[in-house]
Symmetry: C2
Subunit: 343 residues, 2 copies
């Protein structure tokens, strides 16, 4: 509405309580907790229930921020913090292990109103990397900080540095051992590192959390946070902290957060390409998202998915994997939680 009647909208803003404005302007949020070989057969009823409950909690907490008139930035970080603090997802507490048996995390955030952005790569001692990415966006002259430098910046800003061990979890450590064993076996079969890595199940190459939101002011934000790829080496940076690849937001088109095999998402500039198709070709977010996920990425082996939102509150959640942890809520739709393809 505020696009068609800007003057009337501003009068409403000036004279009506925020609850009334909320009824007038769309607000919406979508979250994801990673895409991959997520099949019903791998879940006990209890495990499935616990994942669904956590996704519901995260999306509703972000929605609650929007409902109170809060910014899409606050909504996105609120939802992502809940996912980061859960051991279920590959970010924060649930971050996977690197080849060296530690945790290195990446995150980024972008605000569609002014295209401000912040990103951190390879941080080891930050409990909630998305909050540090936000701090880079809001209080640094730079967009992207990495490694110890990013943590020095955090310390200067009063952010607590935590022990890398707090991210240890038994199930992720088992995954690392499995990956190392598979890589070793493949190498014994004379496969080179590349071929050995290609033989790994997709689940070891993906896993990320993210959120996109539209606030009452018509501004959209995207945020992404991850522990990266299991057994990653050499200071590998994936798509999650790359503006344009894993995260992108522009009020003129849409906001996108991605999850998948990061190398493909960087090469195909996935998040920004979806927004470019919306802006330059007049496609809907559903059309643009489906094209990139199914027609561009799928044929080259780029597995994963995205969540997309526009300034009208439309949302789309395409993925080309067996499943994607996801949830949405808006002022016109009830909480939706999905895990499997047919959810």
């Amino acid at each position: 509405m505020n696009k068609v009647f800007p003057i009337i909208t501003s009068l409403l803003f000036a004279s009506l309580p925020s609850a009334v404005i909320a009824a007038e302007s769309p607000i919406a949020i979508a979250i994801h907790g990673g895409a991959g070989t997520i099949q019903k057969s791998r879940f006990t009823p209890e495990k499935e229930k616990a994942y669904r409950a956590k996704l519901k909690e995260a999306v509703e907490a972000g929605y609650s921020v929007l409902e109170k008139g809060g910014s899409s930035i606050d909504a996105v970080t609120t939802s992502i913090n809940i996912l980061e603090n859960s051991p279920f997802f590959n970010a924060g507490k649930g971050a996977v292990y690197t080849h060296n048996e530690i945790h290195e995390m990446d995150s980024s955030i972008m605000y569609g109103k002014n295209r401000q952005a912040g990103a951190v790569a390879g941080v080891k001692h930050i409990k909630n990397p998305i909050n540090l990415a936000r701090l880079v966006m809001e209080e640094s002259i730079h967009v992207m900080l990495s490694g110890e430098g990013a943590e020095k910046f955090a310390k200067n800003k009063g952010v607590e540095l935590v022990d890398n061990k707090i991210f240890n979890t038994e199930h992720r450590y088992k995954s690392l051992l499995k990956v190392k064993a598979k890589m070793k076996k493949a190498k014994l079969e004379n496969k080179d590192h590349q071929a050995a890595h290609n033989s790994l199940d997709v689940e070891y190459k993906v896993g990320t959390v993210g959120a996109v939101a539209l606030d009452i002011h018509g501004d959209i934000t995207s945020g992404t946070s991850t522990g990266g790829m299991t057994a990653k080496r050499f200071g590998r940076i994936g798509d999650a902290p790359i503006i344009g690849a894993g995260t992108f937001a522009d009020n003129n088109s849409c906001a996108v957060s991605a999850t998948g095999h990061g190398e493909y998402f960087i090469r195909y500039n996935v998040a920004a390409d979806i927004c470019a198709r919306v802006q330059y070709q007049g496609k809907t977010i559903e059309q643009a998202g489906n094209e990139v996920i199914h027609n561009v990425l799928m044929p080259v082996g780029g597995t994963g998915g995205v969540i997309i939102i526009d300034t009208k509150g439309n949302m789309s959640l395409p993925f080309n994997t067996k499943g994607m942890y996801r949830a949405t809520k808006s002022n016109t739709t009830a909480t939706y939680v999905g895990i499997f393809k047919d959810d």
Copy 2:
């Protein structure tokens, strides 16, 4: 020609010597050595002559690779190596100093034929970072490696690690001292770090080298290499190693290498956005480049420029600064070297 008559072209390829093919298929290369406050008044005639000679040498070396039927990847790295090995430009030997008085370099490369890409960020002991970016593209399962991890990968691949001191130059050290003094003065005037940094001349925020090339096979490549921003801190990563921001190449649209105030080039996804306007809006590379450099970046303060090439051999070199070190050569145009706006 190979677009209109693909069958005849392949017949030609099979039956004619490469010198004849070269006359049939366009080949072209463009290079840059950074954009900034490059004004005639700051040059002695000798200095100007030396810069022009180095640009000529670099572009002609890359062109010579193309002329012999070499790939656009080889042409791009050949030209960039010459610029990296010169103290004139902010990359390799001429890399600026960080706040800690060392040199941290970033580089990336992308091949338009298959959209393979490689990037390194924050390397300190690599003589020619573009060659390491290429090695990541060709021999790693990852696209982007950073810091010590990237150098460990280099060492595993037999790349010599050099002392960071080899990148020391007197003129860059003087620049660092100037920047530090200016920042100190600004802070004494109660400016915060952000405001202090904003008060610096643009020349301390830019400086990069890059090349884009089209080979006889119709494939384009883009590469970029830089020492980053003078007095940068906190492991700052600029646009040069970011696929989509500083470097992008896709045979379906164009290849772009950027130089400028990196934070803006990341937020505006500059290299990929130019290609998206070409591919989705049917714009020429000249139209798309001018729009992004002059209409998108200039109004928000994003200073810099780009070099662009397409698969027909068209080249465009827009910039919104006082000057940009640049040169081109193609099978239909003689060597062109430019420094100032009216060159």
